[in-house]
């Protein structure tokens, strides 16, 4: 089959690799119809996530048709499914309390030691996201082996086209959980750092959950415009002092809740962020945590900070005092996708949520490397790239 593979920093290729097959009883094989490039794929593209190996198949946002099932799969051939990026067994303690992204059984035993050493506990398995999270081949390919296919994949009705449901795999539930983790109350003002797909969906979710105001922060005019259309007020951090603006826009109180939808590769002009850029480049494994730090200072005392943005390592000069003295609640984590898929699919069917506005480019899988390059370099206009294995290349 054809698949998009990782070979190093800013080096992804479409190659022919072995087709997947059923290995374990609960597996299914999915023929991919649509797959997206995620903002977090850019962390892999930029080489800042450890545990990647040359030839790894990328992609964790995908959907398609069931073409083969193991004896213990509950799926049927021909069904159309969206596959959550988190691989979850459904039987362990964490899956049973719906903390699916903390599944204890989906990361193969021999791959668990790295994250257990780094974080104190092993991570769950994720599709196409380094060997720290299992080394599973991802969905930017013609076919994918999906383990525990009786737990993760959600069957979608035929009348909803791919573009309407594809984002159930990751970014829509991630934006939703980000807002949920911000524990939004009526009358709240919520600030969202980052108007990428997760940030934009977090804006939608925060408003749907009853936030009085949402303030979206970015530096790309087009992305800020998308946030504005969703009903957010905006701050361009290249034009404006963010903390001062947030304080003034809230009458000196500060925002009730903050959402960091940026993560480890923050832009920013603060000196510590520039030092972190250098550390990351030389591979010291430091996260650029300038948004996390700024959000801690911007949120009001007793407020909440929700972190859907990806971090992987350490940071220093962390304002621990602000966290404690202001009594901030911080909630973070990979998304428990399976907890949200049914509810969000219903909202899509009812027309309450529309995610298609996000898609700026649809390309054949063969043009995946161009998709990565442009999504990385032209962030203002390339807001979301969908790849289709079956699509004919433009002549």
């Amino acid at each position: 089959m054809r698949a998009l593979t990782w070979h190093g920093t800013k080096d992804v290729r479409v190659e022919t690799v072995d087709d997947p097959e059923i290995v374990n009883p609960r597996d299914a094989i999915i023929k991919v119809s649509s797959t997206a490039i995620c903002g977090s794929d850019l962390h892999l593209y930029d080489g800042v996530i450890p545990g990647m190996m040359a030839g790894d198949v990328l992609g964790h946002e995908f959907m398609g048709e069931v073409v083969e099932t193991g004896p213990a799969s509950t799926l049927q051939k021909g069904q159309r499914v969206v596959v959550p990026f988190t691989i979850s067994c459904g039987g362990c303690f964490h899956c049973r309390i719906e903390q699916y992204s903390a599944c204890e059984n989906s990361n193969p035993v021999e791959k668990q030691d790295a994250s257990a050493t780094l974080y104190g506990h092993p991570m769950a398995g994720l599709f196409g996201y380094s060997h720290m999270t299992g080394g599973y081949s991802g969905g930017q390919a013609e076919y994918v082996r999906v383990p525990f296919s009786d737990v993760g994949p959600i069957v979608v009705p035929d009348h909803l086209e791919d573009e309407k449901v594809l984002f159930l795999s990751d970014i829509l539930p991630t934006g939703w959980m980000a807002a949920e983790n911000a524990e939004i109350q009526p009358d709240d003002t919520v600030a969202v750092w980052g108007c990428g797909p997760v940030g934009l969906f977090a804006v939608q979710a925060a408003l749907a959950m009853g936030a009085a105001r949402v303030i979206a922060i970015d530096h790309y005019p087009h992305r800020l415009e998308l946030a504005h259309k969703l009903g957010a007020e905006t701050i361009n951090f290249r034009e404006t002092h963010v903390r001062e603006a947030l304080l003034e826009m809230t009458g000196g109180i500060g925002v009730d809740a903050a959402i960091d939808a940026v993560g480890m590769e923050a832009h920013g002009f603060a000196i510590d962020n520039m030092i972190d850029v250098v550390k990351q480049k030389v591979g010291i494994g430091a996260d650029r945590a300038s948004v996390f730090k700024q959000a801690l200072l911007a949120v009001r005392p007793g407020g909440r900070l929700s972190v859907p943005g990806v971090y992987g390592g350490m940071t220093d000069k962390f304002p621990l005092g602000a966290l404690m003295e202001k009594g901030i609640t911080v909630r973070a984590g990979q998304t428990h996708v399976q907890r949200y898929t049914d509810r969000l699919l219903a909202m899509i069917e009812e027309g309450v949520l529309d995610t298609t506005f996000l898609i700026s480019h649809t390309l054949p899988l063969e043009e995946g490397p161009r998709g990565y390059r442009c999504f990385r370099e032209e962030q203002n206009t390339w807001t979301k790239v969908v790849l289709k294995p079956g699509m004919e290349p433009e002549q």
Partner: protein
């Protein structure tokens, strides 16, 4: 051990007995040496001290399955090779609960250990000990306790052994990634996977890759 004393008096006594049997001479020697130190409630194998000529490894894992089911699966030693990577097979020897364990050793070698059941409490613990003349002087114990609430069963594994060829053997095992501490951790996690999900997770795309990986480890 107050929580044990309150809820599982007999079990606590059983565990204490088995723990006492583990690396007996070595631990007693250590106890004398550490007489002035107050004991705590942590499992013995997490202690900072060593156990003399015995290596002691221990691990616990919580498995969301009933205690009786896990005990029954483990009690049939022929099941163990399904999740213990270095175990080639366990076969019964004689009629009095003796078994012969064939275990992979560094550099393509294998060793055989004949064990007898030293103690067994139905649904709670199985302890075994190598008989005189085995390749390895070892004893071990697996315990099953109800975990809080709906969490299932807390399974504890302790193995004490005299490293074959002493320190050199221990270093060789480490080089070949056969260190018992790592093995115990991995084996228990595979046991958990098998019991909770019915399979052992792998990220390979194809069956032949799974077989190749297994041969590489073999």
């Amino acid at each position: 051990m107050t929580s044990h004393g309150r809820t599982h008096g007999a079990l606590a006594a059983g565990i204490a007995l088995a723990a006492g049997a583990i690396a007996l001479a070595a631990t007693q020697q250590n106890r004398r040496r550490h007489r002035d130190h107050p004991a705590d409630d942590a499992p013995g194998f997490t202690a900072r001290r060593d156990f003399g000529r015995y290596e002691v490894v221990g691990r616990s894992v919580t498995i969301a399955r009933p205690r009786a089911e896990l005990f029954a699966f483990w009690r049939d030693f022929s099941n163990l090779a399904q999740f213990m990577e270095n175990l080639i097979e366990v076969s019964p020897a004689g009629t009095d609960g003796h078994s012969v364990w064939t275990i992979r050793a560094p550099a393509g070698q294998s060793v055989q250990v004949e064990t007898r059941i030293a103690r067994e409490v139905d649904g709670e613990l199985i302890a075994w000990r190598s008989v005189e003349g085995s390749d390895i002087d070892t004893e071990g114990r697996i315990t099953f306790e109800d975990a809080p609430g709906e969490r299932g069963t807390r399974v504890g594994l302790i193995i004490a052994y005299v490293p074959p060829m002493g320190e050199a053997g221990r270093v060789a095992a480490k080089l070949f990634r056969r260190e018992p501490e790592v093995q115990a951790r991995h084996d228990l996690k595979r046991f958990k996977m098998l019991m909770e999900t019915g399979e052992i997770a792998t990220s390979v795309r194809r069956k032949d890759a799974a077989r190749a990986a297994k041969m590489e480890n073999a």
